[in-house]
């Protein structure tokens, strides 16, 4: 239907995580607003399990393109298939997660269809029969809402964790398999190998992030933060100052020139809170700031502030958590 809401289901070689279905929650709200169907679309070598799960998470219909050529994720190939589906069915809106994979597919598919898209969206609402998409601009100091009037569909990438996970139920989806032939020889890229990161840091997906800045003073500070993160099942983040001091690799950097994250808990240790850092984490649900300087700007963004030396506060927190969580 012309005003259906489509959600792209991302996966890595068929492997799914509940996060793959994250956007079906907001998708369902939008579809209810339009009085239309919530549909999922999926591209891969084998899509049956994905389609089944998408139904359980609320999709009424699943559109799928299947083929061996889609075994490895390749942005170009996936985007061609996505553009084919979106052009054929022209839903009202198509949502992708703002991950490296989701962004690759969304951007290239939109370009193939000849229009723009809204990226890293943090607000979606129906306004005048169209979806209005809000995104943060300039370090979150401004929020800009856009409507893509010329695009059919409107395409948006949505910041991971911006919306609550949908409940998993017993629903099943009607599966529509579309044939879209793409020869392997016509895909210009080939995945040679995947090297899993030693620290397996996945900041974007983490519910809890313990982050350190210049105030840590040295590399050893991060070992202490890692201990706290491990105890809480979280990941370690860092400010640019800490990365530039080579205390921790760039993949941990949060902020304007690093990653944008939206965890449920963000614990900032020895981070002053420059706007460039706030840009990457200010939409976190709960922010805890630990800093020696009572005037540090981070306290203005914090839900809870502790004025003190992280070297004393963090070990004390670890001790308390150990007791209270029985770990």
């Amino acid at each position: 239907m012309a005003n259906d809401v489509w959600v792209y289901i991302e996966h890595k070689e068929g492997a799914i995580s509940p996060m793959s279905f994250e956007l079906l929650g907001i998708g369902k709200e939008l579809a209810a607003g339009f009085g239309s169907n919530l549909c999922a679309f999926v591209i891969g070598a084998g899509v049956d399990d994905l389609a089944k799960e998408a139904g359980a998470y609320g999709a009424a219909k699943v559109y799928a393109v299947e083929g061996d050529v889609f075994k490895d994720f390749r942005g170009e190939a996936y985007a061609k298939a996505a553009a084919f589906l979106l052009d054929k069915y022209k839903p009202e809106v198509a949502l992708f997660r703002a991950t490296t994979m989701g962004t690759d597919v969304a951007a290239a598919a939109a370009a193939q269809l000849g229009f723009g898209l809204c990226t890293d969206t943090i607000g979606l609402a129906i306004d005048g029969g169209k979806v209005k998409m809000a995104r943060a601009a300039f370090g979150g100091n401004f929020s800009v809402s856009v409507v893509n009037e010329k695009a059919a569909p409107q395409i948006a990438t949505v910041r991971p964790k911006a919306y609550a996970m949908p409940e998993k139920g017993a629903g099943t989806a009607e599966v529509v398999k579309e044939s879209f032939a793409l020869a392997d020889a016509d895909v210009a890229t080939k995945v040679v190998e995947f090297l899993a990161s030693a620290s397996a840091v996945n900041l974007v997906e983490a519910d809890i992030i313990v982050s350190g800045g210049r105030g840590l003073g040295n590399e050893a500070g991060f070992a202490m933060l890692q201990q706290l993160a491990d105890m809480l099942g979280g990941a370690v983040g860092a400010s640019r100052a800490a990365v530039d001091s080579e205390w921790i690799p760039y993949e941990h950097q949060v902020g304007q020139t690093g990653k944008t994250v939206k965890p449920k808990i963000y614990i900032a240790c020895g981070i002053s809170g420059a706007i460039q850092h706030l840009a990457g984490m200010r939409t976190s649900d709960c922010i805890v700031a630990i800093n020696k300087d009572p005037d540090a700007p981070i306290f203005k963004a914090a839900t809870f502030g502790i004025v003190g030396d992280y070297k004393e506060v963090v070990p004390k927190m670890i001790e308390k958590f150990k007791g209270k969580l029985g770990r």
Partner: protein, 265 residues
């Protein structure tokens, strides 16, 4: 090998940002400008590629006349050619229009084997122009690149490492390719005084919509498909609570409060 590098002029990341609210665009008056930090890595990668494999570099920017500064900086670092895509019709372009204009410039430059660009700009922050460029040009799409392992212009092949969620993906691709790079791929060099002096005397060509054969209906504010309907200052985060007391007491409070959130599993 012919190398292109796309450079964007952005407001200094340290500067205070002003919006032209009625127009929904950035007010650039009186703001210090710099080369987009991610594009500095792209430029350095272009220079390294030229040094390692032999070739020539064209640096391309799109923007008002003032954006020549970023191209002059590139000239000081010894790029061979520059071009500024500059036309009143381009003002207010969205990401697609920007990619379309840059793609037209890359076609005009001719026979480009590899295009380097930064993974995103620090002002627009969209991070999609690289992928859009690849799609429009029909070049290999290589985003989030943290290392270029090899480029073989003869065999038309490039091997890169992409930093994706959870690890590094090694990808082999056909040339021509668009490579968008992340921070840390290299250490950008600074121009020396002689380079700066030399660059100051070089004319920077300007390419208009007409020169590029660009359909003006598809660019600028008129052509942009995404329309800004509202700019707002988000509500400030509620005033935080400073936990006061002895260390023991504070640690007790914060751990209780965090456990109460029911997020820790």
């Amino acid at each position: 090998m012919k190398i292109a590098v796309c450079l964007k002029q952005v407001p200094d990341t340290e500067a205070e940002v002003k919006w032209d609210i009625p127009k929904g665009t950035l007010s650039r008056d009186g703001m210090d400008s710099i080369t987009n930090p991610f594009d500095e890595f792209a430029l350095e990668e272009a220079l390294l590629t030229k040094e390692n494999y032999d070739g020539e570099i064209i640096a391309i920017s799109m923007g008002p006349e003032g954006a020549k500064d970023v191209l002059r900086n590139a000239l000081a670092l010894t790029v061979d050619e520059t071009a500024l895509c500059c036309d009143d019709a381009f003002a207010g372009s969205d990401t697609y229009a920007t990619a379309y204009v840059l793609a037209s410039a890359i076609k005009k430059a001719g026979d480009v084997d590899v295009v380097f660009c930064g993974k995103q700009s620090t002002d627009g922050n969209t991070g999609v122009v690289g992928a859009e460029l690849a799609a429009i040009l029909g070049f290999s799409q290589l985003t989030q690149v943290g290392k270029v392992r090899s480029i073989d212009a003869g065999a038309k092949k490039i091997v890169v490492e992409r930093a994706v969620e959870g690890g590094i993906e090694v990808v082999e691709a056909k040339l021509p390719a668009v490579v968008s790079v992340i921070k840390g791929i290299n250490e950008p060099r600074l121009p020396n005084l002689m380079g700066i002096r030399k660059a100051s005397k070089i004319d920077i060509p300007q390419w208009s919509a007409g020169d590029l054969g660009v359909d003006t209906g598809k660019v600028g504010a008129a052509g942009a498909s995404t329309k800004v309907v509202e700019i707002a200052v988000p509500p400030p985060r509620g005033a935080g609570e400073i936990l006061k007391g002895e260390l023991e007491e504070v640690a007790n409070m914060i751990t209780d409060k965090l456990i109460d959130l029911k997020v820790i599993k």
